[in-house]
């Protein structure tokens, strides 16, 4: 019987409570912040910083997956839907102690040029995408980003996309492409709180030559200091 979403949640919680070494999250966030600041000083170009963060994340992901597989004892996922559940409930939980919500979706099949524009909605490949919503972001927890960086296009937490891409690429034939959306609830009572959305799209082998960067949106601090 396939492992259910609830069972993955239990596995994630057990892994987090287990023997793996931990460090203080504030120290981690401040160290990550120092890394981002260094890249901004180096490249003076937010788009380049985003790329570098993704690249660093990729290298980290290819290392973390070994440890993850050894500790979690999780086998091959039957489909991309299951991958999404494992990433959210076991991966994020065991490394960052958060559990993003995960929504699964289809991927529209590119419309044929002969198709009539009045036809029924475009067909989709079911279960080809999942979107993770992080309503808390340990990377940005103790960080206050200057407006200039946010407006300039910095994706502060873009390293997460790289980690995910690197880790998934090590265990699946299909690689994953992550896209980003960003919502900033400026009118919320909890001003300054933003959500990070991370969208993963299953890709076939033939898509490997496409060089879509794996991106995540701007992470805003949810706890300003």
């Amino acid at each position: 019987m396939a492992t259910t979403s609830k069972q993955y949640k239990v596995i994630g919680e057990e892994l987090w409570k287990g023997r793996a070494e931990k460090t203080n999250a504030e120290l981690f966030a401040l160290t990550y912040g120092a890394l981002v600041v260094q890249l901004i000083q180096d490249y003076e170009d937010y788009e380049e910083v985003n790329k570098q963060l993704e690249k660093m994340g990729y290298n980290i992901g290819t290392r973390l997956i070994e440890d993850f597989l050894a500790r979690s004892n999780i086998g091959r996922c039957v489909d991309f839907r299951e991958t999404g559940e494992v990433v959210a409930k076991v991966g994020f939980k065991s490394f960052l102690n958060i559990t993003p919500s995960v929504t699964h979706g289809g991927l529209p099949i590119a419309a044929s040029p002969t198709r009539s524009s009045t036809a029924s909605p475009a067909p989709t490949i079911p279960g080809a995408t999942f979107t993770l919503t992080l309503d808390e972001n340990p990377l940005a927890e103790f960080v206050e980003l200057p407006e200039e960086a946010l407006e300039g296009g910095l994706w502060f937490s873009n390293i997460l996309c790289g980690v995910l891409r690197g880790a998934l690429e090590m265990v699946r034939i299909l690689t994953a492409l992550c896209l980003s959306k960003f919502t900033y609830h400026s009118s919320d009572s909890n001003a300054g709180h933003g959500y990070v959305y991370l969208r993963c799209v299953a890709r076939g082998r033939n898509d490997r030559d496409q060089s879509h960067p794996c991106q995540v949106s701007r992470g805003r601090s949810s706890r300003r200091r």
Copy 2:
């Protein structure tokens, strides 16, 4: 009654087990490793990398101390000996989940030019220094440093010195100067295991203009992968 070393150990353990958020240590170590690699690429000069790490650590230390004081409820230390105990048993424990051993020492008073060279050993200021010995180093736990970097003078974990200097500077009139020693037990059965020594020296106000960098020695991985 003054708090004893054993009591500080208990406080440190309680803080670590407490409500403070945590993250996975491997993710932290790999992120720190990415930061060091970035600095090496930027500066191409290990001495400059050491300086930058110390500077980053200083900024982090000035932030972490706020959280530390709020969580630990520890008052002003009566002397530098007590400071050493708090740093080792409460500070390191609550942020990195390690407890370095701490040894206290004196600081030789500079010899007077009129003193005879045959006189008794130089007098010292008692309790003016403490040395922390880290026999495990979470920063370097999952990192394998190239020989070239080690031989070139990289102090991989130098950020720790900065953190300590920044944190102590925020709570004491006396600032701290950290010096480094390094021992590499190449003949140990546990080959590749190194110790990090971190030496703090109490400094008077008049010493503030001295620009001794706060340094820690090279951290070698104790768990090679």
